[in-house]
């Protein structure tokens, strides 16, 4: 049995081990997170004061675009796939993923996709400058020549996500240990199962929309060109048909992580397990019928505006169920506040704030005022940063002792949490105010009277960035040494992953575990 990892670089290149691949995904995503963070800091440095001082407006546009693309496709999605790779086989009692070789491939095409996408910044005409939503005709008629590389990079990322999702679904449906019924699965597994189905349904639509762009640019079709009988608004419909489920792809696994952490540190079982499952499924279903709320201002019939407004507001119901369940889990629990719990509680509070500003944006008549302002930026950063980033950070702190066998430095973890928490709120809370006052997004300059709030935002952004360096340091020093973690790590945590040794052996559950 005792058959360890191979030595040298080829271990990582040829590996089919879910733990190795999970680690590579996580490291890759952290590298992309830092890169996307640098892009964000360029934006915030330029916006520190009104007027143009640091970068050219054209380069500023490339920074806003690349920040969005790198964070969505490079940081958040691979981080969740990495966690899925590490944890799902251990949570369902499987020895590995169902399709280990495809797993290797779906990881290894990602660095090439991002190398290509980031390389466009150095090409003639610069990189993508049309915003991460790449609306036609900005991304077709007026795009820099490098757009073709961007399209190809998106195709590869899509292929990677689709292969990853097929793998995850096959693992969850076919490789659970005997006795592990669907309704006994940990919520992280459930939310990932639903997320994987969302990915399979919408990543091909993204591939389709970039393919149509490619044909418009190079092969003389007119999908989005009015002169040839097409319609640029069609682009927005197809894009957001992908884009709205995509935002739930970036948040559902986060729900799963938080649902694992809160019961551990509240020392109570999760309240309302089955309602959590049904709420996740309803959110996934609703995500397909609300896309046009991103485009209330394109000139829709009133019936359309009303339908998308009400459908969007309906999402608040299952989301409210979830928030209620987390709060109720904590209610009268014997709570302690280790770093993962701090991040999870911040998740619940800040994600709810983001949800509320989402409800404000869902009101169609009010959205005409908010559209394309910093209020929108504040909203989606409040759901994505404390939503996706905080939950991933919480998950890393929570499972890191299981992965490497050492405890992380709790003081440093808590310091990082408070830096990130304060930095995040300093950065994004003032954006609500400047947005309501009419400051437009994606513009490198602004009116003098937004100056103070923008300066606060920029200071907060640098503080938030510094906190991430501390995370990196903490993770590396934990891997290299530190207090040994017990097999259970925490006090009576629930789940099969805590029944194996710490650090988790290279191969786990070669024989099925007994599931109660």
């Amino acid at each position: 049995m005792a058959h360890g990892p191979a030595k040298g670089f080829t271990r990582w290149l040829y590996t089919t081990n879910h733990k190795d691949i999970g680690s590579m995904y996580l490291w890759f995503s952290f590298a992309m997170f830092l890169l996307g963070g640098v892009f964000a800091l360029v934006i915030r440095a330029e916006l520190f004061e009104p007027g143009l001082q640091i970068v050219e407006p054209g380069f500023f546009n490339q920074m806003t675009t690349m920040h969005g693309l790198v964070m969505v496709f490079g940081a958040v999605m691979p981080a969740f796939v990495g966690l899925a790779n590490w944890m799902i086989p251990m949570m369902v009692g499987a020895p590995d993923m169902a399709l280990p070789r495809m797993n290797n491939w779906s990881f290894w095409i990602l660095p090439f996709a991002f190398a290509m996408m980031v390389a466009t910044l150095f090409m003639e005409g610069g990189g993508p400058n049309f915003g991460w939503t790449f609306y036609a005709p900005l991304s077709t008629t007026y795009a820099p020549p490098s757009v073709t590389f961007f399209i190809f990079a998106v195709h590869i990322m899509g292929a990677s996500s689709i292969m990853g999702s097929i793998n995850i679904i096959a693992t969850i449906l076919n490789m659970r240990a005997p006795g592990m019924t669907l309704m006994k699965m940990p919520l992280f597994v459930w939310t990932w199962l639903i997320t994987a189905y969302l990915l399979i349904a919408v990543m091909p639509v993204l591939a389709g929309v970039v393919t149509m762009m490619l044909m418009d640019i190079h092969f003389g079709t007119s999908f989005f060109d009015a002169a040839g009988g097409g319609d640029p608004v069609l682009f927005q419909h197809v894009f957001w048909f992908f884009g709205h489920p995509e935002v739930y792809i970036m948040i559902l696994p986060a729900f799963g992580i938080v649902s694992a952490i809160i019961p551990t540190f509240a020392r109570k079982p999760l309240f309302g397990y089955s309602s959590m499952v049904y709420a996740t499924a309803s959110i996934a279903f609703l995500s397909f019928i609300v896309w046009a709320h991103h485009m209330f201002t394109v000139g829709m019939p009133i019936a359309g505006e009303l339908f998308f407004m009400y459908a969007t507001m309906l999402i608040a119901v299952p989301t409210g169920v979830k928030v209620f369940n987390w709060v109720t889990t904590m209610f009268r629990g014997a709570m302690t506040f280790e770093t993962p719990m701090l991040f999870s509680i911040a998740f619940v509070i800040l994600f709810t704030i983001g949800g509320f500003s989402g409800l404000m944006l869902a009101i169609a008549p009010a959205d005409f005022q908010y559209h394309d302002t910093y209020f929108v930026v504040a909203h989606f950063h409040y759901v994505l940063v404390p939503g996706a980033i905080f939950s991933i950070t919480a998950g890393v702190y929570y499972w890191l002792p299981k992965w490497c066998g050492n405890m992380y430095n709790e003081t440093m973890g808590k310091t990082q949490f408070w830096m990130a928490f304060i930095g995040l709120n300093l950065t994004f809370f003032p954006m609500h105010f400047v947005g309501l006052a009419g400051m437009q997004r994606r513009v490198p300059d602004y009116n003098q009277f937004f100056a103070d709030f923008n300066m606060i935002s920029s200071c907060g952004a640098f503080l938030f960035g510094a906190a991430q360096i501390m995370l990196l340091y903490n993770v590396i020093s934990t891997i290299r040494g530190g207090k040994k973690a017990t097999d259970e790590v925490w006090e009576n945590p629930e789940g099969l992953e805590w029944t194996v040794a710490s650090p988790a052996p290279y191969h786990t559950f070669s024989t099925p575990p007994a599931v109660k």
């Binding site: 499987a94 999702s165 096959a170 389709g208 009015a226 002169a227 019939p301």
Partner: protein, 204 residues
Amino acid sequence: MTKRFWQDNSTPLLCVKLGAIVVMMFAFAIFIMPPLYDLFCDITGLNGKTGGPFVTGNAENELGVDTSRTVKVQFLATNNENMPWEFRPQIKTITVHPGEPTVVNYLAVNNTRFDMVAQAVPSLVPFKAANYFHKTECFCFNQQPLAAGESAELGLSFIVDVDIPKNINTITLSYTLFDITESQKKKTTLNVINSHQQLAVNQL
């Protein structure tokens, strides 16, 4: 090798099914969504897209003319981005009775030193009126090639439907003129390449 305890045999089938969903959704995005969107716009009049050539029934009087009311039709002309042509309606407003066939003209002048091709794209407000505004003839149904310095009168014949809702008293019809010289060249090149290939295939 340890005995496999999971139901491995069903994995290939599952992957094929999931792969089929992927292919289906890709095809849905490219082949179904655009026509579906056009159909939707057609039904609702969304985006003010007016339909193709309207064919009146065999008896022209069948529609009748509703002389009891009038509808004001306004004409607009816009040049898209760098389109250099002079492009304007010869009359800005006309008042018609529903059911009455009307002819108006637009004027286009290619005042550049190059031969160019243009395409006019119509849009009509209010959207609700789009399905009650019938064009029997329109320059927007065709591309407009004009040689350098040439000018042309572009004709438009239309009938406002007698069934037009009572609350619509004004219809604004706008044409945006697009320069499609470049894309026409591209298409021609493509056709030339295609016919060459066809030729090569035939010679085999």
